[in-house]
């Protein structure tokens, strides 16, 4: 059959289905409730079994790397929020850390503690969100309501700190803009004291649930070799038998001072990933308790500084700007022209809730980065679907996409 094309039909729909065999091409997405964003999957099916999968991404592409090349470093910070918008502080942090390493800044201890609190709260928020949406896809409505309820408390805590619930921009290059509010610790402690009971509620509902187990166990098994070859990181890699957590192995901030375990499994299936997310929530709570102690120690020792002191790169505190002429001038230059980091390049990985979030920055000494590459974990966690889905059945697609925990702000950037 000859293809009849005209301008009104987009080119990709002009596929003629005149094959001899029974292969059916199913177009999954880009608007599909369980694709967690704008994922389009072209699935080649034999009956209900997938023989070939072709993920198509780019529906949320905003050209962040291009934007970064046209923005001064501080300007780009709120843009990073829009990558993994479920845990936006971890993106802010990854970018801030990369610029700090490029420039060679030392962040004050109190700021580090606050950053760690924000990072772990974001991890909890992200994992709760993951649990809620994945369980909803599988059909567990109660879990969705439970997990969103807990996430709401954390969003309130974050809102109290930075005024935003989703796009926080709560971290600055060189520190944090604000100290935590008066009732932050109290609210956080209340939440953390409740969290174990909450996690137990989820587990009681899911761990021995027949439907949940049938959808999760032995489904979407990723071998260690496949996970390494596809550049999987984070829970995806840890579920496949590699206990690699950047917080533990290449510690940044104060992660070498806190005590926590890295949960891992050698099963590699959906259920292993689910268990790892649950265990990581417990570990995050453990870290948060320790950061509260560290924060109170900072208060006791009178460590009040929140921003690094580096007049060439970082504006002085507000009090200095308002009272001292030179600080005001320097602030004016930094705001209008931007900081000029040294010539060189860095690649800094951090452990975001999804995996290894890396920022590669090539600076040529100007106020704009010459090249900025965002290494988002979800990009490869989407790519692996090409090799992972064949052999599975249509209902498995939903649970596999769920446990890969992909966020399209990050895949498409």
């Amino acid at each position: 059959m000859a293809q009849v094309t005209n301008r009104l039909t987009p080119f990709f729909e002009n596929i003629t289905f005149d094959r001899e065999d029974n292969e059916l091409i199913l177009n999954f997405g880009p608007q599909h409730p369980s694709s967690h964003g704008q994922l389009r999957l072209m699935l080649h099916l034999q009956q209900e079994q997938i023989v070939k999968a072709h993920p198509d991404v780019g529906y949320l592409h905003r050209g962040m790397e291009k934007m970064a090349e046209n923005m001064i470093y501080n300007e780009f910070m709120p843009t990073t929020d829009r990558m993994d918008y479920v845990a936006s502080s971890s993106n802010n942090y990854g970018f801030a850390l990369a610029v700090e390493k490029l420039v060679g800044l030392e962040v004050p201890r109190r700021a580090k503690v606050i950053r760690m609190m924000l990072l772990e709260i974001n991890r909890l928020m992200s994992h709760l969100f993951w649990l809620a949406t994945t369980a909803l896809d599988i059909g567990a409505m109660t879990i969705f309501l439970f997990a969103f309820r807990e996430r709401e408390y954390l969003m309130d805590v974050i809102e109290g700190y930075c005024g935003a619930r989703l796009t926080h921009a709560a971290i600055r290059i060189g520190g944090v803009p604000l100290d935590i509010q008066d009732d932050f610790i109290e609210q956080l402690r209340t939440f953390l004291n409740k969290l174990p009971a909450n996690i137990k509620d989820y587990e009681d509902l899911l761990d021995t649930n027949r439907i949940w187990l049938m959808r999760m166990e032995e489904v979407g098994t990723i071998s260690t070799e496949m996970a390494l070859s596809w550049g999987c990181t984070g829970p995806m890699l840890r579920a496949s038998g590699v206990a690699w957590d950047i917080r533990k192995e290449e510690p940044y901030e104060l992660y070498d001072e806190v005590e926590f375990n890295v949960p891992w499994s050698d099963k590699g299936d959906n259920f292993a990933r689910y268990r790892i997310y649950m265990e990581e929530m417990r570990e995050s709570a453990k870290i948060l308790y320790q950061t509260i102690d560290m924060y109170e120690e900072c208060v006791k020792n009178g460590q009040t500084e929140l921003m690094a002191h580096a007049p060439k790169y970082i504006s002085a505190p507000k009090l200095d700007i308002m009272t001292q002429n030179y600080s005001l001038m320097q602030h004016f230059v930094l705001v209008t022209q931007g900081m000029r980091p040294p010539v060189g390049e860095v690649y800094i990985p951090t452990e975001s809730p999804k995996g290894e979030l890396g920022f590669y920055i090539n600076s040529q000494g100007g106020p704009y980065p010459y090249r900025l590459k965002l290494r988002a974990p979800s990009f490869w966690h989407t790519g692996i679907l090409t090799d992972l889905l064949p052999g599975h059945y249509i209902p498995d697609v939903v649970s596999i996409i769920g446990t890969t925990n992909i966020v399209f702000g990050e895949v498409d950037r």
């Binding site: 009104l8 780019g58 010539v343 490869w380 790519g383």
Partner: protein, 268 residues
């Protein structure tokens, strides 16, 4: 006279540059200072030519020849335990010397070390695909092709990945403007309605700085709503918006301008 803007790099430029300012460098150190990196480098040097090497921010950077890349990465994966290709992409140096710089970010989990392998290629030259070694390169190389137009020889599916398949131009080149080129501004009009509709519809507004705030066709004009297509004069009454129900919402304090205390003493 209009100021001259270089056509080979149309990205944002600093409006003020001190002629006498010399940028500092991110410190580089010798490879000998790190025993693990030194051993890795020896292994690479035994088989391949290494052009330049140094350690910068705790990671070794190795410059090699463009056609050695498959061999080097294979050696690193099989013998030096660099089991993961975290990231790869290109840097556009076309304005400087008509080359691209390609980098491969490698990770060894056993050694807890990261190496960046780099090389230069001429404009128009293709790279060797490493997709056979690392499946992650499948999508990375497609992204590099999408953004820079650098093709990878031996790649199974060298198509665009983030931009539409029928896109023209390579967005991350320095010659490509931030708000898109002419093709970008007519892309949707041409595709959906055809070129003859260009005069009726007009190009897409891709520069947010040029958005017409009196445009009632495209924008809702929050707080100053008018029926679609109304001629805007600019003196429409403001529609007061109530964001909260009367008496406030549970747990949210209602902001009331009248009962708020306004501090007008600067010396408070």
């Amino acid at each position: 006279m209009r100021t001259y803007t270089p056509k080979d790099d149309v990205q944002a430029k600093s409006y003020y540059t001190d002629r006498y300012y010399v940028s500092p460098q991110v410190p580089k150190s010798e490879v000998e200072t790190d025993a693990v990196f030194a051993a890795d480098l020896e292994a690479i040097k035994a088989k391949f030519e290494v052009k330049e090497v140094f350690i910068q921010v705790e990671q070794m950077v190795v410059y090699i020849n463009a056609n050695d890349i498959y061999g080097v990465l294979e050696l690193m994966r099989d013998e030096l335990e660099y089991t993961q290709l975290s990231e790869m992409s290109a840097i556009d140096w076309l304005a400087k010397d008509n080359t691209f710089e390609i980098f491969y970010q490698m990770l060894s989990m056993n050694k807890r070390k990261r190496i960046r392998v780099k090389y230069f290629i001429k404009n128009g030259q293709a790279v060797d695909s490493v997709e056979k070694l690392f499946r992650s390169a499948d999508w990375s190389e497609r992204e590099m092709f999408d953004m820079f137009g650098i093709e990878a020889n031996g790649h199974p599916f060298m198509k665009r990945i983030l931009m539409p398949y029928d896109w023209q131009g390579f967005p991350l080149l320095k010659t490509y403007p931030l708000e898109g080129d002419e093709f970008a501004s007519w892309y949707e009009v041409d595709k959906i309605y055809g070129k003859e509709a260009r005069d009726i519809i007009g190009p897409e507004l891709r520069d947010t700085a040029r958005v017409d705030r009196y445009d009632s066709q495209r924008f809702a004009r929050l707080g100053h709503e008018v029926p679609k297509g109304t001629e805007i004069t600019g003196d429409e009454p403001k529609n007061e918006q109530a964001y909260q129900e009367d008496g406030g919402v549970f747990l949210i304090k209602k902001f009331d301008k009248e009962s708020s205390k306004i501090i007008d003493d600067p010396q408070r």
